[in-house]
């Protein structure tokens, strides 16, 4: 309970500090940024009817989920964006010495104002998609969104943990995370074979973009796959981080 209070307090402090510095500018421009990009899909579906069965509502929900989940991630667990730098610069020692879970502590040390723009635009686009209008799909979507947030965070932690073995990888880790964000914004039902496998297990864009849409549309297997893959990524992130700590202490 005391630990929860600590992380809650940390989160409040971070939110306050993000509001103090350019909050409105970052939030509004992020909403604009996401909205303008969505126009590309409007133009696309003006010319083409569908992409392997997906039409504008499905693609809008997929894009909304990627924005929404990333927004929640950078607002609540913004600190993981700098994890590789914290490890390679030696700042990590300070977190290891404290009686708190170092991963959760680092994750909650920062909050990005731009994330609120992602959350707002995500919410608006979920509404525009028209696929989450009733209580049933809304509950399923809430579950899928939670899974997408965990998967985004876990994937980022895994990528940043490379710093334990390879040294300063902050730029590379951030770039790889951006690839996941980018791939989550395009329909993942266009891939086959090893590319499809990569979208589920390597750069988990399908877990963030495709499975939530399929779940909301009533696919039970998508729900099981979502729960299973989210657990897999969360567990892999935890194991990788703890192995990394062992190596860090040993070194």
């Amino acid at each position: 309970m005391q630990k929860l209070k600590f992380y809650g307090h940390l989160l409040r402090l971070n939110l306050k500090s993000s509001v103090a510095s350019g909050f409105w500018l970052q939030m509004l421009f992020m909403v604009l940024n996401n909205g303008i990009f969505w126009i590309i899909w409007l133009i696309f579906f003006r010319t083409f009817d569908q992409i392997n069965g997906w039409r504008l509502p499905q693609v809008t929900l997929m894009y909304a989920t990627a924005q929404f989940a990333w927004g929640i991630k950078v607002v609540v667990f913004g600190g993981t964006r700098n994890l590789a730098r914290v490890i390679s610069d030696g700042e990590f020692d300070g977190f290891l010495l404290q009686p708190r879970n170092p991963l959760l502590h680092i994750a909650t040390t920062r909050s990005f104002a731009s994330g609120w723009g992602d959350i707002l635009s995500g919410l608006a686009l979920v509404g525009i998609s028209g696929l989450v209008g009733h209580i049933g799909p809304a509950l399923l979507y809430a579950f899928a969104l939670g899974c997408a947030v965990i998967t985004f965070t876990a994937a980022e932690v895994i990528l940043h943990c490379m710093a334990f073995w390879l040294g300063p990888t902050n730029t590379l880790s951030r770039q790889l995370t951006e690839y996941i964000i980018m791939l989550s914004c395009y329909p993942q039902n266009i891939y086959h074979g090893w590319l499809k496998a990569a979208m589920y297990f390597l750069l988990p864009a399908a877990v963030i973009g495709l499975l939530p849409v399929e779940l909301v549309q009533g696919s039970a297997s998508a729900g099981f796959a979502l729960a299973g893959l989210t657990t897999f990524f969360a567990a892999t992130a935890g194991i990788t981080f703890h192995r990394g700590i062992k190596r860090y202490i040993g070194a």
């Binding site: 303008i36 133009i43 730029t171 329909p187």
Partner: protein, 262 residues
Amino acid sequence: MKIIVARFWAVAKQAFLRRMSSVLEQSGRTILLAIILCVWWKLWQATDFGKFAGFRPKDALWYLMATEWIVLSIPYTHIDIEAEIRSGDFAFNLLRPGSYAGYQVANGIGLSTANWIAIGVVGISVTYALTGSLPDLTLARFASVGLLGLLAAWACTLVMVTLGLLAVWTNDATPFAWVWQKLQFVLGGLMFPLSIYPGWLKRLAEWTPFPHLLGNLATPMLGSGEGGGLLMAVLQVGLWVAGFSLILSFVFQRAVRRTLAG
């Protein structure tokens, strides 16, 4: 004058050599380009292409390669300027001989040229590997598309420096760059040529610099006589370079005045 030119030439050359030797920086952009090309190639294969204004999938991919070649060559100069303004280094650098804005432009030109080479090599190779053929263009026309793209990337470098200087007022330039970039994507015709846009959006886009610095330059890749004359394209890019230079000069003077007054 000769000394000033030599100084900026040295800055651009150093930036070029620095970026060329930075494998990590280069691989980040080139891998991103390869992913984008693969995603869109898959997308084109999953759609009914007969409706796409008579273009073939391979033409559309070469078009995308040409627009991405320009966009990914543009350096993120605004981030460096924003960081200098936040840390106070900007005010310190104003005391140095030579124009700060000129230094940033020269630095950006060096970086964008290095990016342009790496992205061009990877982009042409990946697009050829995916489509199995080259665009229906003469070698000279193909080279002109590339060189005009480089000129457009230099023009956009002027914009990135201007956007970076806005941090003097807002402390944060990145949000402006997000919106500029996304407007460039949509109004410039990054993914599709403007010819398939709805009439009102096409007309709106033509009043902005974006098509002249992006889509119009790539349209020769679509074959079938798409795209205007070469001279007109050079003239349009040149006019935007002049316009952006004037805006940069105005914003820089204001930024200096505000910094010195503060």
